[in-house]
Subunit: 237 residues, 2 copies
DNA sequence: AAGTGGTCTAGACCACTAC
DNA sequence: TAGTGGTCTAGACCACTTT
């Protein structure tokens, strides 16, 4: 390892490993060399490699399994749902279905341009769908993606319920963090039609921006939710 | 250290230290013995003590400062506000003021009894107040506390804006975790009166239960928020 | 039985804070 | 200058998984 970086050794090892993962040299699911092999490669002790790997595991970049090894983290619909989906009913996290899915390309609105940090000539892919829980419509959802990052999405015949594993598998984009802003708002005419409720009904408006590991915004999503039978849950520690 | 507990050494050290802090033997703000002194006391190595202290720091039970030492964590209005308050405006986290504060003792409702896990004969202290931001009422707040835990609160002349540092300082109760459930709802007649808005206006209803380190619920709070100029922010990683 | 990550030790040196 | 936590090493042994 080169020195004089004024940062701890394990930080430099961590960054070197993160680079291999984020660049795709090590693909999701891949087994990493063991701690001693990495220690030898970087010219540090095994304890230093361990600290770097533990930090990467805390950021969900790798998964460690005693007796098996350390693997590049792979997004599955379950793990993503558990990390990033916060709507519950009395029985726990809900798994809504989708209907009336539409996909289209459009020139971005000002908010889309800002949220996705689009280039001046960039266009967006918009996915709109109504999500149902126990056959009742509860979420009116609009998702905006940069066309530059997700070209090819339009040609798909079907859009799965959970998108983030698709982003990783088909587009090489791994969501690392989401920021959500919540407000109460009256249902618009369009939302009321899709949710089969009166115009003006209070809905929970969730604005979400999803970021990849480099901090670049990759998805903007607005969900209008009826909260008669579900609620948004948050734990603060 | 006694053995045969089938748990790692550092876990046992951590629990022993946590017990001293939670029981009050080591009060908030107190300087702990250094790592080598603790290692000698427990008959383990310094590295094991370090791992225990790092885990306690991650749970906000202690604070570590290079060159100064390790201290029992002390709640201040700032740290608590930063950890547990999620309402923002365009400029960042807001710090609402309070008005029309009322404190009273009452027999608990069924929901209060359930949320606070009250004993059959237990009563509650209710604090109601209207919270303002830039002189506009934005939150209609009701807080319920077990009278058994907070006796003496009624005699106070004033109730501060941030309560959790008061809980720790005056009642020995440290909030470790809060769980919040959010819904959109129409403003009730009472809420509309206090927030100076029409009945039925969509408000963000935040139901919060706060827990201490042992997992016991210590506070139940319902906030009805107008979200014209503020929003609830959540980051998921 | 072989290989992996998890725990634990003993000791060295560095970076920061206080006196 | 003394004392603290932070980093790093080298090595031992344990617990778990796979073959």
């Amino acid at each position: 390892m080169e020195k004089l970086d004024a940062q701890p050794l394990y930080t430099r090892v961590k960054r070197a490993l993160a680079e291999r993962i984020l660049s795709g040299i090590w693909a999701p699911g891949r087994l990493l060399p063991n701690e001693f092999q990495l220690a030898e490669e970087f010219g540090v002790s095994q304890g230093t490699v361990r600290k770097a790997l533990d930090a990467l595991a805390a950021e969900h970049l790798v998964e460690r399994h005693q007796g098996r090894g350390t693997f590049v983290a792979r997004h599955t619909s379950d793990t993503v749902h558990f990390r990033f989906f916060q709507l519950y009913d009395a029985g726990g996290r809900i798994q809504p279905d989708s209907r009336d899915v539409r996909v289209a390309v459009a020139d971005p609105s000002g908010r889309e341009r800002a949220a996705l940090a689009l280039a001046p000539e960039g266009r967006v892919i918009r996915i709109t769908r109504t999500r149902t829980h126990e056959d009742h419509p509860i979420i009116d959802e609009q998702i905006s993606l940069s066309e530059a990052l997700f070209s090819g999405l339009l040609e798909r015949e079907t859009i799965p319920n959970t998108l983030y594993d698709l982003y990783q598998t088909d587009f090489g984009i791994t969501v690392a963090r989401v920021e959500e802003n919540l407000r109460a708002a009256p249902a618009s005419e369009a939302t009321a039609r899709r949710l089969d409720c009166p115009v003006g009904t209070p809905v929970l408006a969730i604005e979400r921006v999803a970021f990849d590991y480099s901090g670049q915004p990759v998805e903007w999503r607005v969900s209008q939710c009826l909260t008669d039978s579900v609620f948004y849950h948050s734990t603060l520690k």
